[in-house]
């Protein structure tokens, strides 16, 4: 519980932002082998540090606050739906270190910038805490928790109780040797109930090393060719796909967000999520392919959509996850069956190799769970199909019907 301050505290916002912008007390420090100017982009491939880590990939993100809009436009009558204050991450890869605080302040994105890496890479992920400019009474640290990273060491697991977390103005570079293909997720773990309700959630998935095999490799009778992709290192092509789409479910309680914005006591016990979303948007925004700017400061804070598109006959991998902190959601594909090939970033195989994959029209996904499901469109006529939650009360944007966890699967001829 946070102490209650008056709204007038926002008056100090300008001076606080100025302090950060001038770098007082701040130490943005992005670590990335072969990056000579500290912006998180490898620019010197002859750098000895890079040569020692030739599989390095780098990403630089900030933790702070910002705004998004919900999808209930007919209720609000405006061009965009209800505005919500949020905490979140923003991508500042490529931003010079002296500009990171400035660019990252009030620039939170929902969902957080996606982290997509290949098995065998080394991920250098720098988190800089830019502070919550609209809540200058807060001095919360932040972390990144790679949810599901096997054999994690606490130093890079992001659980603040057992580890270190980074203060405002500081940077912490997380190091991950990328293993285990599959669908994970990431989030801030500091004061998890609050920071996750406020929106510090994102997609994270690992592409299989099997994608990189030499053309013509025989996988137990399945011939691999350049460009083929697999959900897992299956050894037999059984998790082959043509296109993949991350589908992350989440939900928000607008009263909680409004209380946070207004520096009021937070309603933990009364938490009641009424905006359910796919990739950070309720329907119909879920099928709008435009990147969306929020109505508070114009930051493009909702960059992702949830439209699934493929050509008839293609195999479509849905990387399904749920980071709602209040709800189980059942995700239904009523016309096109899903073959579930993995859960929890682990191929559905028994310890002796038995095939445990199964066909279904629906998956029941709890908070912190992921499913890798392949849509086989061989016998599917071109057209538009639906993907939605059968928790039908969440087919809404708060009080407005026809919204929530719903999107379209468009099969082109």
């Amino acid at each position: 519980m946070k102490r209650v301050y008056g709204m007038a505290i926002r008056m100090v916002l300008a001076s606080l932002a100025l302090m950060f912008a001038t770098g007082a007390g701040a130490d943005v420090f992005v670590q990335c082998p072969g990056d000579t100017d500290g912006d998180g982009v490898i620019d010197d491939f002859t750098d000895p540090e890079y040569l020692a880590h030739p599989n390095a990939v780098c990403m630089s993100i900030t933790g702070g606050d910002g705004f998004i809009n919900m999808a209930d436009t007919t209720v609000t009558g405006g061009a965009r739906g209800r505005q919500l204050y949020m905490f979140g991450f923003a991508d500042v890869t490529g931003v010079p270190p002296l500009d990171v605080i400035d660019v990252g302040t009030t620039a939170a994105e929902f969902p957080a910038p996606s982290i997509v890496v290949n098995e065998g890479e080394e991920l250098y992920l720098t988190l800089t805490n830019v502070g919550m400019a609209y809540r200058p009474d807060l001095d919360d640290p932040h972390t990144v928790h790679w949810h599901g990273y096997a054999d994690a060491a606490p130093v890079f697991d992001g659980l603040p109780d057992v580890s270190i977390s980074v203060h405002m103005g500081g940077s912490l570079t997380y190091y991950y040797q990328v293993r285990g293909p599959g669908t994970y997720m990431y989030h801030c773990h500091v004061e998890a109930t609050e920071h996750m309700q406020m929106g510090m959630l994102g997609q994270l998935y690992v592409k299989a090393a099997q994608d990189q095999l030499a053309d013509g490799t025989n996988l137990n009778g399945f011939i691999h060719h350049d460009g083929y992709q697999y959900a897992y290192n299956d050894g037999d092509g059984s998790t082959y796909y043509d296109v993949d789409f991350p589908i992350q479910m989440s939900s928000m309680d607008p009263e909680f967000h409004d209380a946070s914005e207004a520096t009021q006591p937070l309603p933990f016990a009364l938490m009641n999520d009424t905006y359910a979303m796919l990739n950070g948007r309720g329907y119909p925004e879920s099928i709008n392919t435009a990147e969306l700017a929020n109505t508070e400061n114009g930051v493009v804070s909702q960059q992702q959509n949830a439209l699934v598109e493929a050509n008839a006959g293609e195999k479509v991998l849905l990387r399904i996850s749920n980071l709602s902190i209040t709800e189980y959601f059942t995700l239904m594909s009523p016309q096109i069956p899903m073959r579930v090939v993995g859960v929890g970033a682990s191929q559905l195989r028994g310890t002796g190799g038995a095939d445990l994959s199964y066909k279904t029209n629906s998956v029941n996904v709890g908070g912190g769970q992921s499913f890798d499901a392949i849509l086989d469109t061989d016998d599917v006529a071109p057209g538009t199909y639906f993907l939605y939650t059968t928790n039908l009360n969440f087919l809404s944007n708060n009080t407005e019907e026809r919204g929530g966890i719903m999107t379209e699967i468009v099969i082109h001829p």
Partner: protein, 433 residues
């Protein structure tokens, strides 16, 4: 800015805080007393009494409950964990001190005979209000993790606390079932339930609670809400909640998790540190060839759905391999501990002598968790600012195991708390009692 744990520990009531700090200094919170075996009561004849009493929540609140007491002692939440061995004939005698009829049903046990019941009951023969008695007898046929709970006025009586765990061990030592694929080094119980204090308050006041408006506000593991789950078994200031939930292991050892869905809501239980592998559900192994293959058909996952009434057995193991740096902080010339493989460049666990590839920030940029040893290396401690850390005396690696419905990580309006505990991976050689 303090960490979650520090903040949570501040929320225990004043008296308990004093006791807690004294005991923490004595190292009792984590310093070597988490049991590698499951606390409970063993034998073949059990004498339980249904009675009223009180439990304490992580925010200091006191909640009125109904529960099962062992041998006429304290009521407890959950009821006594009954630990029996396959093949034994088990007799449970239930006395009723409550003002309404009560009973016990044993889901998964097929040959339960009831003697002396005062009334037929709903799911089981009942002991009458205020002084009734009933006896149940069954053969512990199949090894596994089960629960027992009241079969009377069940919606209310489960909420009030009338449930417990039943563990049937096979004759083989250190196996969950009669197959070597279920072998383990340590075993722990995670008995998940939740309660709505408004219902308990109404019952205590003699009012009829409105179960239709039930909304849980406390989330428990083994009868305690965080951070009380971190404390040892049988701590004196939680006399009706004798079971802690801290778990400990070593790298490459196998932990058996016995998980019970004992409440009325579904929970999503996340294991930091590594995936678990399901062995069995409701006391039945996941087998491709029944009776032959052993538990070879369970899935690997990082979050387990635990629905009301279900039980899961799963194994969990943390290896600390292939991280790209040496978790022991060895220099290249140091001995190859714990195994020679560590120094073999051809081995997947070859990390010997490799430094962490990034600089960690200076202290002024960091917040430190109470369970942070000050060092990123297993079994080591590092410098910390005055007043920070201090809850990790052996340099273990701590992993939170918790509900990933994070709304359940609170105690009423106080965050954090709720359905959380810790798994500690201790350095090789650190004893686990």
């Amino acid at each position: 800015m303090k960490t979650e744990t520090d903040t949570a520990l501040r929320h225990v009531s004043a008296l308990r805080r004093i006791a807690a700090s004294i005991l923490m200094l004595a190292g009792l919170i984590v310093g070597g007393t988490a049991q590698a075996v499951i606390s409970g009561t063993t034998g073949v004849n059990f004498d339980l009494t249904a009675k009223e009493g009180y439990v304490s929540m992580g925010d200091g609140a006191t909640v009125y409950i109904w529960g099962y007491a062992l041998d006429g002692g304290n009521v407890q939440l959950p009821g006594p964990t009954l630990i029996v061995t396959e093949g034994e004939t088990i007799t449970v005698t239930l006395h009723n001190d409550l003002a309404e009829a009560v009973s016990i049903t044993f889901p998964g046990q097929t040959d339960v005979t009831t003697t002396g019941a005062d009334s037929e009951g709903y799911l089981a023969g009942e002991a009458a209000a205020t002084g009734g008695e009933v006896t149940y007898t069954f053969t512990a046929t199949r090894p596994g993790t089960y629960q027992y709970h009241s079969g009377s006025n069940v919606g209310l009586q489960i909420e009030m606390g009338l449930s417990g765990a039943l563990i049937i061990k096979p004759n083989a030592m250190n196996q969950a079932y009669n197959h070597p694929s279920t072998a383990f080094h340590q075993e722990y119980l995670f008995f998940l339930q939740e309660l709505d204090p408004h219902i308990h308050t109404a019952v205590e006041a003699g009012l009829t609670p409105n179960l239709a408006e039930r909304r849980a506000q406390y989330w428990l593991i083994n009868g305690r809400s965080g951070p009380d789950t971190f404390f040892d078994d049988n701590i004196p200031w939680l006399p009706t909640q004798p079971y802690g939930a801290m778990a400990r292991t070593h790298p490459n050892e196998t932990v058996l998790m016995r998980v019970v869905g004992a409440g009325l809501d579904v929970h999503s239980f996340h294991t930091h540190g590594a995936n678990f592998r399901v062995l069995a559900r409701d006391g039945r192994m996941r087998e491709t060839i029944p009776g032959v293959s052993g538990a070879d058909a369970g899935l690997s996952d990082f979050t387990l759905t635990v629905a009301p009434g279900q039980t899961y057995d799963a194994t969990w193991s943390w290896r600390g391999e292939d991280l790209g740096w040496d978790i022991f902080g060895h220099a290249p010339g140091d001995p190859c501990e714990p195994s020679g493989e560590e120094c073999d460049p051809a081995s997947p666990i070859y990390d010997h002598g490799k430094a962490i590839p990034v600089w960690l920030p200076e202290q002024q940029f960091l917040t430190f968790g109470g369970f942070w040893s000050g060092s990123p290396f297993l079994g080591q401690e590092g410098a910390l600012p005055v007043g920070e850390g201090g809850l990790n005396l052996d340099g273990g690696y701590f992993y939170m195991w918790h509900s990933h419905i994070e709304a359940e990580l609170v105690n009423f309006d106080i965050a954090p708390g709720g359905m959380m505990t810790m798994m500690i991976v201790e350095a090789p050689g650190v004893p686990i009692p």
